[in-house]
Symmetry: C2
Subunit: 89 residues, 2 copies
């Protein structure tokens, strides 16, 4: 088993209303931010065999909307044992 | 200006109902996945000065709920020019 992280953001041309809202919120708190994009992140634990092809298919079919979102994935290495509630900063 | 990516996931001990739902969805489609966590991703463009301290503060005060979420951030390098609608895979 390996762990893979997928990150999906709206494509650059697509209006990111959530990102604009977050940017306004941060500015209202006094932070200087020029741009904010908000996206989604997934961490998957899956078999190593054909992982890359499987991750791509999962992204295209289920995890993201390829029409308006772009995604990236990276292998994180062997999967950690199941979480035991520890803080892992 | 630099770009920073922030990723926030529920802490390991916190029930991730969304992750469970995604896992069931993927399994229903025939994919072998042992675990799925769903989180949020942010891409921020902000001034380089004190960026790390500012990002941490934004995370603690606004972007995440430190009680139930853990976050990581990484600097992505100099900010790209504003999006022009191009696809950037």
């Amino acid at each position: 088993m390996i762990a893979v992280r997928v990150i999906a953001f709206l494509k650059p041309g697509v209006l990111d209303a959530q990102g604009q809202a977050v940017q306004q919120g941060l500015e209202a708190l006094g932070y200087a931010v020029e741009r904010v994009r908000v996206g989604r992140a997934f961490e998957l634990v899956l078999p190593e065999q054909d992982w890359e092809e499987n991750v791509r298919r999962m992204c295209e079919r289920y995890l993201t909307n390829p029409l308006i979102e772009e995604y990236r994935y990276e292998r994180l290495g062997p999967a950690a044992p199941p979480a035991k509630g520890q803080d892992d900063p």
